[in-house]
């Protein structure tokens, strides 16, 4: 390749990444679902005609990282590229062929140049409601969780599939938002398509496949090189979490070798009877994200870089749950996987890996109305975070989403849109795992109904019985909790009624610490005491601070 070609390839690669970022931006600005807009719970990417991903936008959720990439393969299996026509747009929310639960819709649009399909754009976003029981862990089978749309045409030759859209509208609680979100998925792919065609003209190209092959090859090599810098071997780790009704063991063995990284989850607990099961594509997304955070994190996502990290889990386990397992709250388990993978990798590269953290987002769904406390009808689904694990050389981040990259919703916005009052939202003293480097703190939240009426909460909280563990002598993070303001304890999972006049208290978990707390820098400890992050008694106890 000549010097000029080499630079042109790089320019085109940069352009493809810019195109999918624009695609994602378009989706984020037009979406209805709060988690898409505020939290970036979406993904967007461009694929070659064989379904290999060439570029993907960096968005708020690792849950889609390669789940969407795998999904495009399923689309092509059902509708081979040669059967597609200009104006076709395909859609699915099948958890096993998409990104793991019914709320995520993936839309795929082929791109034609001179009558030939040359690429595909795909985008996924979270639609707030898909009918059924609603977003939560209580279903026993996927059928109860809402409407499943198999891979089908959303548009055929430019004509909307009116029957399908009517079916979806008739089955969900907010038909306008659902339809609006489907259109915004189609619109973002269209934005990508138009920009790609312009770019090909500018670079005087008719197809993408040759350039795509080079991008994939280049990324694969860079990723392999990064993996080979880690000492070869197999590293094991496991964590136990609360689960819905019984504890769940997540067991990983991570093998680093000349061909890359293999993560296997043999030994993991079997599928649950409730909606916290994880389809394999989602397992692959979060497990490989964990590895990618510390190995080759500057290599862009595409078929080349993603192919270097391979993830397997035994069929029938909670991490490769078959149909028709319930999967709505699959994130409560899936978001723990980076902790498992990082735990294993900490044995090989401790200088790069953090300790365990709260990891699972706390997403209380608060609702009122007929059958759920009476009173005014409302539903809000804010999200809150706990503490992240301590990091090599640094404390863990307090109240910060990891592995998810979401943003919270302001208290004032939640209070303006629903009859709730958030009486408290503050750091929890002593919730950080103690250590030479301490974990991040969790927070305490207190919710009340604005008129003192009863309301309901659907909970998907983990780490209430099994905290984030510390490393190398560091303490465990504080456990999470859910209770009434009179002290009555609530379960971590499932729906409960908050009686009239009572308030709901939610405590998010803290992150694990690293190293002996007695070895913590005394100035940092003094600062923590002054800020109220660490109490005097914990300082004297865990940190063995001598008074005076």
């Amino acid at each position: 390749m000549s010097a000029v070609d080499q630079i042109r390839l790089q320019l085109l690669w940069s352009r493809l990444i810019a195109i999918v970022e624009e695609q994602a931006q378009t989706l984020m600005r037009t979406a209805f679902s709060a988690t898409v807009r505020e939290a970036g719970d979406l993904s967007a990417g461009v694929f070659d005609t064989t379904g290999r991903m060439l570029a993907q936008a960096v968005t708020g959720t690792p849950g889609h990282v390669n789940a969407m990439a795998a999904s495009v393969g399923f689309f092509l299996k059902k509708f081979p590229i040669r059967s597609m026509e200009p104006g076709d747009i395909l859609v699915t929310n099948d958890p096993w062929e998409g990104t793991g639960h019914l709320n995520d819709f993936t839309v795929v649009t082929p791109v034609f140049k001179n009558g030939t399909a040359i690429a595909l754009f795909a985008a996924t976003s979270h639609i707030a409601d898909v009918g059924g029981l609603g977003f939560g862990p209580d279903a026993r089978q996927v059928y109860e969780e809402g409407l499943l749309v198999p891979i089908s045409h959303l548009f055929r030759k430019g004509e909307a599939n009116a029957t399908l859209i009517e079916m979806i509208r008739a089955n969900v609680r907010d038909p306008q938002a659902a339809e609006g979100d489907l259109y915004s998925l189609a619109a973002c792919n269209e934005a990508g398509r138009a920009r790609l065609l312009e770019t090909l003209d500018e670079f005087d190209l008719d197809r993408l496949d040759d350039v795509g092959a080079l991008i994939i090859e280049n990324s694969r090599n860079a990723m392999l090189e990064e993996a080979r810098r880690v000492a070869f071997g197999t590293y094991d780790y496991s964590i136990r979490i609360d689960g819905y009704d019984k504890p769940v063991d997540l067991v990983a063995s991570v093998t680093i070798g000349a061909t890359g990284v293999d993560i296997d989850f043999s030994g993991t607990s079997p599928a649950s009877d409730y909606g916290i099961n994880v389809p394999l594509t989602y397992t692959q997304a979060y497990a490989s994200f964990g590895a990618r955070c510390v190995i080759g994190n500057m290599v862009p996502n595409n078929a080349g870089s993603l192919g270097v990290v391979r993830v397997t889990a035994p069929e029938g386990s909670i991490l490769n749950a078959p149909r028709p397992c319930a999967v709505s709250a699959r994130h409560t388990v899936g978001q723990m996987l980076p902790d498992v993978v990082l735990g294993a990798l900490s044995k090989a590269i401790p200088e790069r890996t953090p300790a365990e953290g709260a990891s699972c987002l706390y997403l209380p769904v608060l609702l009122g109305g007929r059958g759920v406390g009476g009173g005014e009808e409302f539903i809000v689904n804010p999200f809150y975070t706990g503490g992240a694990g301590a990091r090599p050389g640094k404390d863990g981040l307090s109240c910060t989403a990891f592995p998810s990259g979401v943003r919270n919703t302001p208290v004032e916005i939640n209070e303006a849109s629903a009859p709730i009052v958030i009486w408290k939202k503050e750091y929890r003293t002593d919730s950080a795992g103690a250590g030479r480097l301490r974990g991040g703190l969790g927070q305490t939240l207190v919710f009340g109904h604005a008129d003192g009426a009863a309301f309901a909460v659907s909970k998907m909280f983990d780490r209430i019985r099994h905290p984030a563990r510390g490393r190398d002598g560091g303490g465990d993070g504080g456990k999470g909790g859910a209770s009434l303001d009179d002290g009555a304890q609530l379960r971590g999972m499932g729906r409960d009624l908050i009686p009239a006049g009572r308030r709901l208290v939610v405590e998010t978990p803290g992150g694990g610490g690293i190293g002996d707390p007695a070895a913590r820098d005394r100035n940092l400890l003094e600062r923590d005491i002054r800020a109220g992050f660490v109490s005097e008694s914990a300082a004297r106890g865990q940190y063995r601070l001598k008074s005076g």
Binding site: W13, G405, K425, Y427
Partner: protein
């Protein structure tokens, strides 16, 4: 006008620029070094020098207009006042929890910027309002009084008060302030209901705290500068440029110094908008490229785009989310780490990366020969023949071409197997590509098309890259104004006195309370008019009303103009919303409920008039005195470029491309795809060749 001249002063990190505009519109410009310890000294020295050069006295000056990065620098360098914050009990960590997110997905080592007020100085007060501003818990005055010992013991100089829902009802904040100031009359107090009365508690608090943090410093500085001007015989009004591109008085600036943070870039954008009017080009892309960053801004219908939130100090590669958000009216622009000093290297994937690290002025690019060993964009421009070494910076800096070659070969060429010229080609193409991507993304975010625009380029590095950037963006006209090196200060002279206030009053469109909205606008008008009248006594004031609207449940509001007659009838408002929504997103959602979160009122005096520049007829083709080999990026080969001296060109001159037009501060590259001409205002206009 009875005065002889107007004076503009722009304090930047390195230089203080002074522009004196005589009555005949001719300019005297002076650049002096910024004096960080007492910035007013640099200003007074520069002003005196400009007057001396113009042969005028202080009494001849009709107005002084000033913009400064001092507030921004104080925030970045953490040199503000010792500040405390009173918050609603149960919510003292809002400021530190921020959005509870990470701005970089794959980096586990990132940290959020630390809050300006540590937790022990965030003091809880028992009180609580709901979203309608109704009292849920009455203000407990004892809990306000209880904060006094801490404020005194910690020697707090400035206090922010930020209670929940205070945008809807300021009473609790006002009462708390009254109690505190009775006990501590000298304490500076900033209220969130005053500084940023908008819904979303985190952003309202960061804005209020940032205001409180810089306020004592800025008050001292502004008063001392005003006194300095007076004692030197200036008796004219002294006005400040805000981040929204308007002017306000010292009194307003001293109360709300946070509104001054982006005044420099705002001046540049005002200049671009003014040139748009003078040349009658309604849609422009403004492109400002200096030593460290490039800034781009869209001008539509002769106006700069504006936004309501700005991030101070994006500390992680200029990445969105890595700075501190402040809610102020601001010129909307995108800024990336791409400037003449941006350093190039090769990453693990063998890709050329440029910036955001910059070699700055010290040690500077390798070719400066001051010890800089990393190749920069300026080195690439030198190697590609775009910069003539002996003419750089008017000949004041001797450039070392060999040092540039060596650095480029070592850091970029060798790892990729390229010679210095090919490596330089790669570096300049990558930096131009990043700027093109940023400009496109910026347009997409605003639902605008970039391709039909003209570009205006200013700042030291912009004229070198403007033509290639235009090629990448498919633009066919580029304007390089005269005096581009002091563009921001020139822009200050073109800014109108104006002031904007945004206040949240959430309301669904189907339950619009027109009387309440009407009353809100009356109070906003009084407040904003007072500010503008002080800055422009006697001027005829124009008002612009805007509603910030969205579909119920969405997360972003979009600005929706309210018709000039001020009517807020639901039907009319809905029409305007749908029109604005369609422009941004291409389609509307029929049947979806609509709500308004905030309302804004902007009062402005007229802009200084800008005469239209008539079209140039009778072009004279000018032959180049010399020619040089320059690397042509679009075809990746060397071409013979004609060389011209800008100061010798006159209106009506036509310079066929390819050519270099050299001036003291910069060089305009006319690529093979363009021709250049000089218009009656001495702008260089690059026009794409018909067959290109």
């Amino acid at each position: 006008m009875k005065f002889e001249a107007r004076l503009a002063v722009d304090i930047g990190g390195t230089f203080t620029d002074v522009v004196l505009e005589r009555r005949d519109k001719s300019l005297v410009t002076v650049k002096t070094l910024t004096t960080p310890n007492a910035p007013e000294e640099g200003v007074l020295i520069g002003a005196a020098e400009a007057l001396f050069l113009a042969g005028l006295n202080p009494a001849d000056v009709g107005v002084i207009i000033h913009g400064t990065t001092l507030a921004t620098n104080a925030l970045i360098e953490k040199r503000g006042a010792k500040t405390a914050l009173l918050t609603t009990e149960g919510h003292r960590d809002t400021l530190e929890m921020a959005y509870e997110n990470r701005f970089e997905q794959y980096d586990v080592m990132i940290d959020r910027p630390p809050p300006l007020v540590p937790r022990w100085l965030r003091l809880p007060v028992k009180e609580r309002l709901n979203a309608r501003g109704e009292t849920l818990v009455a203000l407990d005055e004892a809990s306000v009084i209880a904060s006094l010992p801490a404020l005194e013991a910690e020697q707090i100089e400035s206090l922010a008060i930020g209670f929940l829902h205070s945008y809807a009802n300021p009473e609790h904040e006002l009462r708390a302030a009254e109690i505190i100031s009775r006990a501590m009359p000298r304490l500076s107090i900033s209220l969130s209901s005053d500084v940023a009365p908008e819904i979303r508690e985190y952003e309202r608090q960061t804005t209020t705290v940032a205001n409180a943090y810089v306020r004592p410093l800025m008050e001292r500085y502004l008063r001392s500068l005003a006194a300095g001007f007076q004692s030197r015989g200036f008796s004219c009004p002294f006005l400040l440029v805000t981040s929204g591109g308007g002017l306000c008085t010292v009194e307003t600036a001293a109360r709300f110094p946070i509104r001054l943070v982006e005044s420099g870039p705002a001046g540049g954008a005002v200049l671009a908008a003014s040139i748009a009017r003078r040349l009658d080009i309604p849609e422009l892309l403004s492109f400002d490229m200096g030593g460290t960053t490039a800034k781009m801004c869209l001008i539509d219908k002769f106006e700069c785009s504006t936004a309501r939130v700005f991030e101070v100090d994006r500390s992680y590669r200029f990445k969105k989310g890595s700075g501190m958000p402040v809610r102020i009216p601001v010129i909307e622009l995108v800024e990336i780490g791409a400037g003449g000093g941006s350093i190039a290297h090769v990453d693990a994937l063998k890709r050329i990366e440029v910036g955001p690290d910059s070699a700055g002025a010290e040690p500077g690019p390798a070719c400066y020969g001051r010890g800089g060993e990393n190749p920069t964009v300026t080195d690439a421009d030198l190697i590609a023949g775009r910069i003539i070494p002996e003419k750089f910076a008017g000949g004041s800096i001797a450039l070392d071409a060999r040092a540039a070659d060596a650095a480029m070969t070592r850091a970029v060429g060798a790892p990729l197997g390229l010679d210095a010229a090919a490596a330089a080609f790669g570096v300049s193409e990558m930096v131009d590509e990043s700027m093109a991507a940023a400009a496109r993304a910026h347009a997409v975010e605003q639902g605008k098309d970039i391709r039909k625009r003209a570009m205006i380029a200013f700042g030291g590095a912009a004229p070198l890259h403007a033509a290639r950037l235009a090629e990448k963006l498919g633009l066919s006209r580029v304007i390089i104004p005269e005096g581009a090196g002091v563009g921001s200060a020139i822009g200050f002279l073109l800014a109108p006195a104006s002031y904007e206030i945004v206040r949240s009053l959430p309301m669904r469109l189907d339950a619009l309370d027109e009387a309440r909205v009407g009353a809100l606008f009356l109070s906003l008008r009084d407040e904003a008019s007072d500010v503008v009248r002080a800055a422009a006594p006697g001027a005829r004031l124009a008002e612009t009303r805007t509603a910030y609207m969205r579909y119920v449940g969405q997360g972003y509001e979009i600005p929706v103009p309210i018709d000039l007659d001020g009517a807020v009838a639901p039907k009319k408002l809905n029409e305007n919303f749908e029109r604005a929504y369609r422009v941004l997103y291409g389609r509307i959602i029929p049947g979806m409920a609509v709500e308004i979160l905030s309302w804004s009122m902007r009062i402005s005096a007229p802009s200084p008039e800008a005469a239209r520049v008539s079209a140039v007829s009778d072009l004279r083709e000018v032959a180049a005195g010399a020619s040089l080999e320059v690397f042509e990026a679009s075809t990746a080969d060397w071409r013979r470029y004609g060389v011209h001296d800008r100061s010798l060109l006159a209106p009506g001159d036509k310079i066929p491309g390819p050519a270099l037009i050299v001036e003291a501060q910069t060089t305009t590259v006319v690529t093979s795809g363009f021709d250049a001409l000089i218009d009656h205002a001495r702008n260089i206009i690059l026009l794409r060749k018909a067959d290109a």
